[in-house]
Every structure is written in structure tokens, then in C-alpha cells.
């Protein structure tokens, strides 16, 4: 069962051994941005989740940051 880690501080994710990593927006809002309006923010969130799903459907040999 593959897992993708959406996290802001990528080196920590790598060090604890996550194999599929997607860099997030910021620590208090990894999948959002309060500076954007609601519609734009949801588009941003959608893009990140799509990247995460893409990571889940990609075969990898080693730890990979997507």
C-alpha cells in the first residue's frame, strides 16, 4: 500500500524515511494559503492533491520528492 507524505520541511520527511514526498505550502497550512481568495486557494489545494495522487501512481526505486 503506497503512501505519499505532504509535508513542508522536506528534509525531515526524507530523514524519517518517507518514499513519496510532496512539498507543502507552509507549516500552518500545508494545503492552503489564507492570502488567496477561497476559489484560488481551493485550486491550489487541488493541484497539490493531484500531485500527491500522481506520486501514488508513479513507480519509484528510491525516496522521491515530487
Amino acid at each position: 500500500m503506497p503512501v505519499v507524505h505532504i509535508a513542508t520541511v522536506v528534509p525531515i520527511s526524507q530523514t524519517v524515511g518517507a518514499n513519496r514526498i510532496v512539498p507543502a505550502v507552509a507549516i500552518p497550512h500545508p494545503l492552503g494559503n489564507p492570502k488567496l481568495d477561497g476559489v484560488e486557494e481551493k485550486v491550489l489545494r487541488r493541484q497539490l492533491v493531484e500531485k500527491a495522487l500522481s506520486a501514488l501512481t508513479t513507480g519509484i526505486e528510491d525516496q522521491t520528492v515530487f
Binding site: P2, T8, P11, P28, G32, T57
Partner: protein, 348 residues
């Protein structure tokens, strides 16, 4: 001779505020601030904190390039004899920042002395670049941490930077190999160790085996449109009211919560229990940490087969490695038994 010290601390110890001040950029102040005052007193004239760098933990970790440029400029300008960072205890972002500024200082030929809990990721990642004193896992240990750092700083000053081994000086192993001359040659020492080992007697290895906690990458999902995707988070998103009372730090458990029938999380339905980041953005819109809204859209569109009805949450703030591992294992078993195809784990 009094050595010239620059002290790096975060927004909290710099008396700027808590998580709401975590995005403050670099501020340079004259003299010691916060714990720097006590540290300087403990140095009893051996060292003087001429400047203090205060920087928000989130700011540093989210803007590492810019922050490091600023740190480099400050160090090039002031030319301290030594950089002191922290102590960071178990604060992950703070430890990472302390380690990273150590790396910046190292590139300028300036040594760094720091202090943090041995599970702090800043130790694992940056131990090559600083002498880090082991501390307890919370600021309650400040009264032990500062004297320990002062002792190491004093030793460093008295020995003109030529510190002895971690065991002699009281810093955590840096993973750096140092050549020394030995009385006995290597073959003899190795055979002596083997003889002790075979006799069941204690022996001291010269090279500890590193522990790599790695997992084989799992094969990818073949068809997302048929897959069940589960959400897991260490960001502490829980139903409003935190019914299981998951702790804001050092969580003793994880929760399993239903999102069946929920199209999105809202400020009325959910909140964060996590005490290690500014909760405002998440509490206003919890989808910012647990993206239920987007995954529901994708489920409706047929892009994914199903969003799993249950999600799992804990608080990743100061969670011990042992507990985090146990929760991960338990959650994985739940997901596997439920026939979940893949999981998205979000962290703050």
C-alpha cells in the same frame, strides 16, 4: 581572553511570542536576550554574547535560502569567535534552524555550539556542523541545559576549539571520523574485541552500526478510478471539541474519525488539537491540513474510486519516535484490513 559570541534563538525565547510569532523574520539585537542572559552569566567572563539573532521558527524553515543569506551576512559582519544556537530541546523547527545556522557558520570557518534533544531532527541532519549538547525534551530542562552548554563553551574556549571526544566533553556524537594514534595496532584491537565477544564479555566497538529506518518503496496504484484513498494526518485535525482529548504535545494516542457523508471539513465540524503551529488557518478551514473537500470532488468526478470513510489523526508535536512508530504501524494495519489502496499523510 573573552571569546566573542553570537547567539541564535527563536521567537519564543526571543520574547516575541509563541506560534503566532513563528513567521517573524530575522532580527539582530545587541547583547544577550532571554536564556542568553543566564548563559552569559554562567560563562563567568569566558565568553560574551555581543549580538543575538532572533528568528521565527516557521520563517526560517519556510524561507531557508533567504534566512541563511541573512545569517551569513551577519556572521561575516560581526566575525564572532563562536556561534551558539538554542537550546532547542525537542522543538523540531527550532532544532533544524540551529543545525542549519551551524552549517552556515561552518562554511565561514566559525564553530557552533548548540543543545537539543537527541530525537530532534536537527541533530540527525546537522550533527556534522555543530557540537550539540544533549538536553531533555522540553524547556523545563533549561536549568540543566544552560550549564551543560556553558561547560562545553568554556572547554572550547580554553582549548582554542580543539575539543576532545563526545564522551570526554559531553556533546552528542557528530558522526565525524577523527584520526588518532593508538597504542595497539588495529588488527590487535579487533581480535581483542572478538575474543571478548566470543567469551560473552563486554567490549567497546570503535564504529557503531548506524540504524537506517527505511522501507522498500511500495508499488504504485494502477487505477486511481478504482482505488480507495485514505487520509491520515499528524497535523492534529480532530472533530470539534477534540472528543478523544488528543494532547497538544506528546500525543499518547491517535484517533479514528468518520467523514462518511461529509463533503468538506468546516470551522464548525473540525479543529486542530496540535499545539506546535499557529492554529488559526487550520481552524478557519481544516481542509487546509486535511484536504477532504478536494478528495470528495475527485470522488464525485470519478478521478478516485472512493475516499475512505475513516481518517486517522494524531498530533505530531513532540511525539516520541517510539510512539510515532507504534501509531503508524497501528494505523497502517487498520487501513490494510479495510482494503484501502493508498494513503495520503499530511503533516504541519
Amino acid at each position: 581572553m573573552t571569546i566573542k559570541i553570537v547567539h541564535y534563538i527563536n521567537q519564543f525565547f526571543g520574547q516575541k511570542g509563541g506560534e503566532e510569532a513563528a513567521n517573524l523574520p530575522i532580527e539582530l539585537v545587541n547583547g544577550p536576550v532571554g536564556p542568553g542572559g543566564a548563559l552569559q552569566a554562567l560563562l563567568a567572563g569566558k565568553g560574551e554574547i555581543v549580538k543575538t539573532i532572533i528568528c521565527g521558527d516557521s520563517y526560517f524553515n519556510e524561507n531557508e535560502g533567504v534566512a541563511c543569506m541573512g545569517i551569513r551576512e551577519i556572521l561575516e559582519d560581526i566575525k564572532p569567535d563562536l556561534l551558539v544556537a538554542g537550546p532547542a530541546f525537542n522543538a523540531g523547527r527550532y532544532g533544524m534552524a540551529c543545525g542549519k545556522v551551524g552549517e552556515v557558520a561552518n562554511a565561514l570557518g566559525i564553530a557552533t555550539i548548540s543543545g537539543m534533544y537527541n530525537e530532534n531532527p536537527g541533530y540527525e541532519l546537522y550533527k556534522n556542523y555543530a557540537y550539540m549538547v544533549p538536553t531533555s525534551n522540553s524547556a523545563a530542562g533549561m536549568r540543566q541545559a544552560l550549564p551543560a552548554m556553558a561547560k562545553l563553551i568554556t572547554s572550547w574556549a580554553e582549548k582554542a576549539g580543539k575539543l576532545g571526544t563526545p564522551q570526554e566533553e559531553g556533546y552528542m556524537p557528530r558522526g565525524l571520523r577523527v584520526n588518532v594514534f593508538s597504542e595497539e595496532r588495529g588488527a590487535r584491537r579487533a581480535v581483542d574485541m572478538l575474543i571478548s565477544k566470543l567469551a560473552g564479555e563486554p567490549f567497546k566497538t570503535e564504529y557503531e552500526m548506524p540504524v537506517f529506518d527505511r522501507v522498500e518503496p511500495q508499488p504504485p496504484v494502477i487505477d486511481l478510478s478504482k482505488a480507495t484513498i485514505a487520509l491520515v494526518t499528524s497535523g492534529g485535525v480532530v472533530p470539534k471539541g477534540n472528543p478523544d482529548r488528543i494532547e497538544s504535545s506528546s500525543a499518547s494516542r491517535f484517533g479514528e474519525y468518520s467523514i462518511a457523508g461529509l463533503q468538506a471539513l468546516t470551522c464548525e465540524s473540525h479543529e486542530t488539537a496540535h499545539g506546535g503551529y499557529d492554529p488559526v488557518a487550520c481552524n478557519r478551514d481544516p481542509n487546509r491540513v486535511l484536504p477532504v473537500d478536494v478528495l470528495r470532488d475527485m470522488e464525485r468526478e470519478g478521478k478516485i474510486g472512493k475516499l475512505h470513510d475513516l481518517y486517522y489523526a494524531t498530533v505530531g508535536n513532540g511525539t516520541s519516535v517510539a510512539n510515532a512508530k507504534a501509531y503508524g504501524h497501528a494505523i497502517a494495519m487498520h487501513l490494510l484490513n479495510a482494503g484501502v489502496s493508498a494513503a495520503i499523510l499530511t503533516s504541519t
